[in-house]
């Protein structure tokens, strides 16, 4: 029987820091892909993922078991991404202007699928980062609007509108 993420994180908080390895094995691909979709840069996303797990150790005392572990983890991932954005593009971090990223391309896919995947990635990367973040968290990370709203410190309605507008933007970019 495997322990829940929450009880493992409590053990980490209590000083069994080596237990973080279990959470790393469970979630580092998810965190990496979240950051990859936000930055479009593989090497940078690997560095930022490393930073996310480092912060989990450093700020482990802030974890409360009443909170879903994945929500807390993505909150940290988001803060890491925002800190990076503030350092490199302060003007973009302050506004919701588009953050054009050059997405890395997957090496092995058949041509048709590859084209479709590349177009989707490019369109996703052209979304303003705030809309992109809402859409990515909602579509790829199994988070409910309420959890995303808690994480982003805004209302559920703002998330609904953000996801809806992100989908509208994507449709415009892909189909017109």
């Amino acid at each position: 029987m495997s322990l829940s993420n929450e009880s493992i994180m409590v053990q980490v908080r209590q000083g069994q820091v080596e237990r973080l390895a279990i959470l790393f094995e469970r979630y580092h691909v998810k965190v990496f892909n979240f950051l990859l979709r936000m930055t479009g840069d593989r090497t940078l996303s690997e560095d930022l993922t490393q930073e996310v797990f480092f912060r989990m150790l450093k700020y482990r005392h802030t974890y409360r078991e009443s909170r879903r572990f994945t929500t807390w983890m993505f909150q940290i991932a988001r803060n890491v991404f925002l800190d990076h954005l503030r350092k490199t593009h302060p003007e973009v971090a302050a506004e919701s202007a588009p953050e054009p990223a050059a997405p890395d391309r997957a090496p092995t896919e058949d041509l048709e699928q590859k084209e479709s995947v590349v177009r989707l990635r490019e369109a996703l990367s052209r979304l303003p980062w705030k809309k992109r973040e809402m859409l990515v968290l909602s579509r790829y990370h199994d988070l409910k609007y309420q959890e995303i709203a808690d994480m982003l410190d805004c209302s559920v309605s703002a998330i609904k509108v953000g996801v809806h507008r992100a989908m509208e933007d994507l449709r415009r970019m892909l189909w017109t």
Binding site: M1, S2, L3, V17, E18, R19, L20, A21, I22, F24, E25, H28, V29, K30, F32, N33, L36, R42, S45, E46, T49, Q50, F53, F54, L57, D104, A106, E109, S116, V117, L120, R121, L124, L135, S138, R139, Y140, K144, Y145, K160, V161, V163, H164, M167, L170, R171, L174, W175
Partner: protein, 271 residues
């Protein structure tokens, strides 16, 4: 609800974020309204397309860096200045340990006798099941990491994988098989040497013993051959002389290796 009200709700409808009455209202509206139905189909298609965007694996350096960071962090926790740490032995020496040697002896005897008498109370039912479960999970984790890293292109990663594998208490059959595969086929001599050492660590396992015996004739590096001869001797295995006899019949062996194998056979009383 009219079309203007329905459209912003279509994504929420897809993601099941609407309360049941509104969910039903969107469904009913789209059944009747061709424009909104097309809108729903478009959004559904795009939502599904987003879903097939493949998840990418990060490079292996991420895992290596993480474990290095974790080890450094743990080491850092133990490197706090002495003033910040509670040292139980110092405390006992200052507050409990008597100055007179006679009293010191009496205290030792008292502690030992008390420990012996209270043993059944302190350990009534063997090891703590939670501790056992945690140990099992760490074993499982090490197994997963070992198997995953053994497939990496970087020799450093594979070396690290072997080192992780060697720390398992009871290696799973797939770990022994993977280590045997590494010993037989890894292009890097250091990785093969490490795999041989790990298999020797698991020498109580029949498959690991067989792996060491079978690998000798498949190696071309004198270094690995010499290491394997040493391990085979230490296995105290009845099949060892036969394996060595067959080995020295191979053409183009390094003379130092042949000499070592022959010396070993002499020890076995075979030459």
């Amino acid at each position: 609800m009219n079309c203007e009200e329905i459209r912003p709700l279509i994504v929420d409808y897809l993601t099941d974020e609407l309360p049941p009455p509104r969910q039903e209202a969107v469904r009913e509206h789209c059944r009747r309204c061709a424009t909104c139905r097309r809108e729903l189909e478009d959004v559904t298609t795009l939502w599904q397309q987003l879903g097939v965007l493949p998840e990418e694996p990060p490079g292996e350096r991420l895992r290596a860096n993480f474990y290095q960071m974790l080890a450094s962090y743990q080491a850092g926790l133990d490197d706090r200045p002495a003033t910040e740490r509670f040292r139980p032995l110092d405390w006992l020496r200052r507050h409990v340990w008597p100055l007179s040697p006679a009293w010191q002896g009496a205290l030792v005897v008292l502690v030992l006798v008390t420990g012996w008498l209270t043993r059944p109370l302190l350990f009534p039912r063997g090891p703590d099941p939670r501790l056992t479960e945690m140990q099992q999970q760490m074993e499982q984790l090490r197994t997963t990491v070992t198997l995953s890293m053994l497939r990496q292109p970087s020799a450093t990663d594979r070396l690290q994988a072997v080192s992780w594998g060697a720390r398992l208490n009871e290696p799973a059959p797939e770990v022994v098989t993977a280590l045997r595969g590494t010993l037989d086929g890894d292009p890097n001599v250091n990785v093969r040497l490490a795999a041989a050492e790990a298999l020797f660590t698991f020498r109580r396992n029949a498959s690991a013993r067989q792996g060491l015996l079978a690998a000798l004739s498949r190696q071309d590096s004198p270094l690995v051959q010499l290491a394997l001869i040493d391990y085979i001797v230490r296995l105290e295995e009845s099949r060892a002389p036969q394996v060595l006899r067959e080995f020295i019949r191979q053409p183009l062996l390094n003379p130092a290796v042949t000499k070592e194998a022959e010396k070993t056979l002499v020890q076995f009383g075979e030459l």
